[in-house]
Symmetry: C2
């Protein structure tokens, strides 16, 4: 995740500094209690720069979400593993880690709050549609590579990817909104699914 | 769902009338724009009755969530199907219906907004923990029955149930916060998982 989160440690330029301030304020205050004023408190330069660039909290948050997605797009945050199976497993290890490390738990909490805005705000909905599409496309590409190389059975890669996305989103939602029902169960069952669907004839 | 939703058509007593008003106002306004005043507008009796019983919006909403969960508990809203496999399938057909019928979509939108409160409110978190626990226990009981009767392989029923819950919550979240990536993929892949894990040696 180094390439994705480097703006937190060494932000380059005003935009990255605003994005860093947004990230920190969002993790601290959550969506409901977030204000441009509070984002400004995490920003080392004049607050008026933020007001100059953004029309308000949601305008800034939507730009922040785009910024984060762009960073994922350009620096897919997982090692180029030995093969497609190892690549999938590295992603599952990261996304389905239980319990989440505390810093990721804070950010996940904020992301669930932002995602809930998409139930009634078209701009947030458009963002999370792009977000989900990006995750599915990325997973689909890995699965397709595995099929082409003969590592995986000739599955419907998009369907498998869409199913993985649902488990990612469900796991993320539960981790920050209820007590876990059973630690590693989701990962174990997903492994059983992938074994049966992708690898059964190996 | 008849037994669960009958309070909407023929509420019995003041509490059910308040619950009905809460349901309607929540579907119409969503969490953020909901007020006790707006719930009162859906209530046929004196609004002062609501203020008498509840300390505010969240107190009322938490009681509403308990009310809904109790109805599910006492009238598990799925037919006592021919066997455990058919019972599981009836639940999957209901929960993973795509697209959701419009009335269920409205309610799901509201539930996602309420669930997002659980990221920062202990009372909401305690409710959704009970809710998730109830779903897992119910699914686990069906799977256990299937194992005992020799219809299913001797699986870890709680782990399978916990995995199903994650797919339910992920699917619910996506249905109301992004455009669907691919209609029936989740159900199809879940069928493949259940076939491999529960039924493979049939």
């Amino acid at each position: 995740m180094r390439a994705v989160e480097s703006f937190l440690e060494s932000p380059e330029g005003t935009r990255e500094e605003i994005m860093r301030a947004t990230y920190l304020a969002l993790c601290t205050h959550g969506y409901a209690d977030l204000t441009v004023q509070r984002i400004g408190e995490e920003f080392p330069k004049s607050k008026s720069l933020i007001y100059h660039h953004y029309d308000g909290k949601d305008d800034l948050l939507l730009d922040f979400l785009s910024f984060m997605l762009d960073r994922f797009r350009t620096a897919m945050p997982f090692p180029d593993a030995a093969g497609p199976r190892e690549h999938l497993e590295a992603i599952l290890d990261y996304v389905l880690a239980t319990p989440l490390p505390e810093d990721r738990r804070e950010f996940t909490r904020a992301m669930v709050q932002l995602r809930a805005q998409a139930t009634h705000d078209e701009d947030y909905r458009a963002h999370f549609t792009r977000h989900d599409r990006f995750v599915v496309d990325s997973l689909e590409a890995i699965i397709d590579r595995g099929v082409a190389a003969g590592h995986f059975r000739p599955v419907d890669a998009e369907a498998v990817a869409a199913f993985l996305l649902v488990t990612f989103n469900g796991s993320m939602l539960q981790q920050v909104t209820s007590e876990p029902t059973s630690g590693s169960a989701v990962r174990d069952e997903l492994d059983a699914y992938l074994q049966a669907v992708l690898l059964a004839d190996d």
